[in-house]
Amino acid sequence: MANELLFFMEVLVGGLLAGTMYSLVALGFVLIFKASATFNFSQGAMVFFSVLAFCGFMQDFNIPFVLAFILAAFLMVVVGLCTERLVLRPLMNASEDTVLMATIGLGYVLEGLAQAAWGVEVRRLDLGIGDFPVPWIADNLKLFISALDITAGLVAAIMIIGLFLLFKYTKIGLGLRAVADDAGAASSIGIPLKHIMLLVWSAAGVVALVAGCMWGARAGVQFALVDLALKALPVLIIGGFSSIPGAIIGGLIIGAVEKILEVYIGPFFGGAIEGWAPYVLAIFFLLYRPEGLFGEKIIRRV
């Protein structure tokens, strides 16, 4: 009995921590959705682009780890700058659908650029953190939990706190929240939309880099990272497209549920239900709580 409980705990904790990796990807979507009410289809490509550049800096130019990371982060700010300048500004007064289509195109451009610059082969990314159980926890708590998962959890926690402080207590954060509520009114009182766009696209780029590092360390830096972004879709549906805590908790729920279902219900379906179980969950949310758990409800006075 005790063993079974321990096993359940292990599945649960492992799932939750793996879920934070989804959360990291989802965070990037939320940032852009808040500012422009657009689902950024290029987020997956941004993950791939950023982490491939990071690997490239380290492996092809022998730049040290920290410097390479800073360079890659800087590169993502430049990508944000170019996106604002070349894509968003000309589409400033276009409909949201047009912007949505533009993000799909942007995704292809980023994928192409990344592979043209750094090649198409799968690269190994060694963060110095192994994807194996931490011996101390395994010995003392009898739980087998990967060090990489724990790191991802910590990183996600730090990022959410950082973003929360940025939005709540800085001037540009106030500007972003104002734009998220009513972009027209925000521009009527002199909040420059282009600064806000630049901020969120850069922030989303850096978040993509962090997510890419985590996933790259686990699965290798490869083109499949682009499709990983699709895993963020159920996370966003559950957590709510406009909520940062929602992205985190949505990720945790997806991570935990998919592991638990896989282990306990999977055998009845012949296994491998991890891949689609989150989407089934997402469908239930779409039916019964379409704004997600933490999505901003449309507030109406009665």
Partner: protein, 271 residues
């Protein structure tokens, strides 16, 4: 150069098109003297909002464009400006329908108005206190989420937010829309006070002809994108046609202004 011009705003014969096909303004000219309140009156769809948006340069975001004529603000053409530059120059529009940031608190809403100014935390607090002297009601509700405040309070938030940008000129688009009569009076008192104590020039679009004229120095009446009548507020209040058409003081049924003019010209021909 700009200081000796008497008019802070000078609109000359503008024509505005939306989407390159829909002609919203045919020919609108109007002037706002420095430190005065000017009312822009007319029914729904007459072109009041379009005129204000042409001035604040917010037309572009609705695919509208000034295709003829000129707009000078403070002695300079606004042609090449964008909304945030206009705010920097001291021209702020309070949009129709209040448009508060619903998820922000009342105080955050007001502070957001100072975004374009480089103020320290202390300066902002000082400015806030000053603003609250005009909007006492908002001070009590400073921590509430704006979406949960009443319509009148939301209108006050919108005006207070605009005042935080320290405007020389305010464009108010139907500030009393959907408000109870006491609140209408309260809003107009505040507007009047801001005009007198802060010296803000005001261009006010309203459907509420009577109270708007009573609180203005000068008025323009527009219909289907054309200025039909203008004059001092007092002369418009006493004008028989205005009385009949906009103040509802008439024995005959409703008419529009053009019909009255047609009748007049017919009468002239007959005579």
């Amino acid at each position: 150069m700009s200081d000796n011009s008497v008019n802070i705003l000078d609109i000359k014969n503008i024509e505005v098109m939306y989407d390159n096909v829909i002609l919203a303004l045919h020919d609108v000219s109007l002037k706002v003297p420095k430190g005065k309140v000017v009312a822009l009156l007319g029914a729904n769809g007459a072109g009041k909002s379009t005129t204000l948006k042409a001035v604040s340069t917010m037309l572009a975001s609705e695919r509208g464009k000034v295709t003829k004529g000129s707009i000078d603000y403070d002695g300079n053409s606004i042609e090449k400006q964008n909304p945030s530059q206009m705010v920097g120059l001291g021209m702020v529009q309070v949009l129709e329908g209040r448009r508060c940031f619903g998820h922000l608190t009342v105080e955050e809403n007001i502070i957001s108005g100072a975004y374009s100014r480089k103020l320290s935390k202390g300066d902002i607090d000082q400015e806030l206190e000053k603003i609250y002297t005009y909007f006492l009601r908002l001070k009590e509700r400073r921590k509430s989420q704006a979406a949960f405040t009443s319509g009148g309070e939301q209108q006050m938030i919108a005006v207070a937010r605009a005042m935080m940008a320290k405007p020389k000129m305010l464009l108010l688009d139907e500030p009393t829309m959907g408000l109870a009569p006491q609140l209408v009076a309260e809003i107009f008192n505040i507007v009047k006070e801001l005009n007198q104590k802060e010296g803000v020039s005001i261009l006010l679009a309203e459907q509420n002809t009577n109270i708007a004229l009573k609180n203005s120095d000068y008025g323009y009446i527009i219909e289907t994108g054309k200025v039909m009548l203008e004059g001092t507020a007092q002369s418009l209040l006493n004008n028989d046609k205005v009385k009949e058409l906009y103040l509802g003081i008439s024995k005959k049924g409703r008419k529009n202004f053009r019909d009255v003019l047609k009748e007049e010209s017919l009468n002239k021909k007959i005579n």
